[in-house]
Symmetry: C2
Subunit: 433 residues, 2 copies
């Protein structure tokens, strides 16, 4: 039986999970791949730090150069995360003739084209199933299982932290700060949750998935982004009242020959499959011209789910399947054949609008008139009765639109928000189909 | 660019869909695989029958021998279905050096070991993504995406016809016969729906999936089977009252080192992910030791979803990935390493029991006493008030148990059903976790 030698860069949560699966499932992995995996090096910054796993003597090292240039090493497993030095280490590993398996969405979303170019030039592969929705084999599903399809849309809950927080807010009726604190206490949010709650993490994953699904070049800056950190608690209450939940949705869809992408808090009907994805779970809906709607659900992060995807990639390389895939798919090609990326402005959508208005006769008529003037028709309205005390203060007016062009809605909002009866900038959220 | 020549056996719904994808997505498929697909032969019984697609002159034939022995043909696509002559044609195609792609669950569930043996001996592959849950790439997910996992359980809605009927019964409140007639009218059930509604179709798919997921030998007769054709409408009403829906669930799970399998109408909580899979959709929940719960949802059948999976397999063969997978996975090995199959008797489960009782003092106590004597504890009870008119007639008593061993429940039922107060055999259904 062949032995495949690995260098693990990083021994954090996922690295520990990978080492654990490789040890505990050794026989199972041998029967799956016909090969034996041996960890040759584990590169860490601080070898004295206590670890959640015992390693054989002599494999823990701080010398990354030695690990990635070791002629015995077949696969470098990059689990450091972030752009630098991961970008350089991946490129150098490939040039040194190693295959690379990585869970690093940031570096692939930003420098995927460069790194896949190095891989192609070196005749090596980059496995990245773990980089998107750790516990869902979505990269393989899109690149292989749905390969016969022209994919028309992707919509996903791709950030487990945001989804945990939103679930807690909806189900427990607590505010954002309290829900974030709970997520941090339970390990679903980091001490600095910025990249999760501001939508950047989901955006990176969307960029990678869209590249695969649509074969388009997707510059990160072409994706419109809004996080859940800007969300007001009151909008969750009104969403509930309307039969919806708010989810941080990452959406890419081809409309009229162009690809529009966004990450934003979105109203999802409570009985929509994505409306029922709770806590730290991720889910992705992919629609193909032949297969129709398909949905994939699983844990988006965490030690073992992500490690499971890393090891699936190791098996793919061991079997030789990854090499065949890589050669044929021309991932991150210089000139991909997919549709060009456009901004979301012309995209048809339904919208949730929350006005803060002065409650006086004719207010609804004036706002509805302006919306109508821009071709935006109203599907439903909530305006609660106000008490004597409210007179003179701002009260909320909720309008759900029928399908409208985003650009028209933005223009209409500029007009309505200039009215003297509108007391604060109107909140505008997408509504999923 | 290479050209890969195909022989299609059968040009029914799926075959027509395959031919359509190959034609309409030719460029897309070339960019996915680096190869061009050409249909060399389409074998049909009656070439004069009108078809939903125009084929090039000279490729429609009745001569199956000529097609599968043509040295130009690379892949035989078997879309005839059933055991004979499919079994023989697949074996002969493999021996003639062709790869085979098939959507035929019946022949693989029954003769998989034999046919995979022929494939191995011939150095050829059998692609069968389309054989299980047409529009869900579940074979690849289990065999590749989850390969790092020890899978502990599978639970699936694998028959779209049954699910359509059950959805109609629940949502429209109609009876079985009416729902079946509606499904037939809309093309979701065949004129003879037996194999769908009696659970055999789901059983075959479960056998194939379980073989992949657990690497066990799964004889069809080891799977307990009950269809929806035996279901009484009243049990759907009581299930609804309890917050459940009834689904035809195919379940395989490893408990205490043994693999238990069944297909049966099962109560699924309304807010359980599988409880929300409606109409003709299929879904499969797979639990792995590392990845946790994952769920895959899509259309289980129909022209284009199934054709999409057939073409995905064609791409896999063209790319060479199928060959690598096949060599490494040793599918349908002579002595698979997985757990032995046991019957379901010792499996822990929750149960729904519907007694038909004579409504008289002490009835509930006598039944509860017998259940308790077998260690079966009661989670909830429904017994509605009866009117004067009901006195003397049989009334329903519904008992939901906590987790109990199936064997104990069966024994207890034999005892309670012998009581004079029990007027008809008690209905016993599984309840999903």
């Amino acid at each position: 039986m062949r032995t495949i030698h690995l260098a693990l860069l990083g021994l954090g949560t996922v690295g520990t999970g990978v080492a654990r699966i490789l040890r505990e499932q050794a026989r199972h992995l041998e029967s799956q791949s016909g090969a034996r995996f041996a960890i040759r090096w584990v590169v860490v910054r601080d070898p004295s730090k206590p670890r959640g796993i015992e390693l054989e003597d002599g494999i823990l090292t701080t010398e990354v150069d030695r690990a990635i240039s070791d002629p015995e090493v077949d696969i470098v497993v990059e689990l450091i995360g972030g752009i630098d030095p991961a970008r350089d280490l991946i490129a150098r590993s490939l040039r040194a003739g190693k295959h690379v398996v990585t869970a690093n969405k940031a570096v692939l979303a930003k420098h995927g084209r460069e790194l896949f170019g190095v891989a192609n030039a070196s005749g090596r592969v980059i496995g990245f199933e773990a980089a998107v929705a750790g516990g869902i084999p979505i990269v393989a599903a899109v690149a292989q299982g749905l390969a016969a399809n022209r994919i028309s849309s992707l919509a996903g809950i791709l950030n487990g932290t945001s989804n945990y927080i939103l679930t807690a807010m909806h189900q427990q009726g607590i505010g954002y700060d309290e829900a974030l604190a709970e997520a941090q206490r339970l390990g679903f949010a980091e001490a600095d949750p910025t990249l999760d709650v501001d939508g950047n993490d989901a955006l990176q994953k969307l960029a990678i998935l869209s590249r695969l699904a649509f074969q388009s070049r997707v510059p990160l800056e072409a994706i419109r982004r809004q996080g859940i950190d800007t969300l007001a608690d009151v909008d969750l209450h009104f969403a509930s009242e309307l039969g919806y939940v708010i989810k941080l949705l990452a959406v890419a869809r081809e409309v009229e020959g162009k690809l529009a992408l966004r990450v934003s808090p979105t109203l999802v009907a409570r009985n929509h499959p994505l409306g029922q994805v709770h806590n730290e779970y991720n889910a992705i809906k992919v629609t193909g011209h032949a297969i129709g709607d398909t949905i994939y659900l699983g844990k988006g992060a965490g030690m073992m789910p992500t490690a499971s995807s890393v090891v699936a990639d190791l098996l793919d390389v061991a079997i030789g399947r990854a090499q065949e895939t890589f050669r044929s798919l021309k991932l991150w090609d210089e000139s991909p054949p997919g549709p060009p990326v456009s901004d979301d402005g012309s995209m048809p959508n339904r919208f949730y609008l929350r006005y803060s208005i002065r409650d006086e006769p004719g207010t609804l008529a004036r706002i509805a008139g302006i919306l109508g003037g821009h071709g935006i028709s109203i599907a439903s309205v909530i305006q609660h009765e106000t008490s004597e005390d409210d007179i003179g203060s701002a009260v909320p007016l909720i309008i759900m639109t029928h399908i409208a062009r985003e650009g028209a809605v933005r223009t209409a909002l500029r007009e309505t928000d200039a009215l003297d009866i509108v007391r604060a900038p109107t909140v505008c959220l997408h509504v999923a189909d």
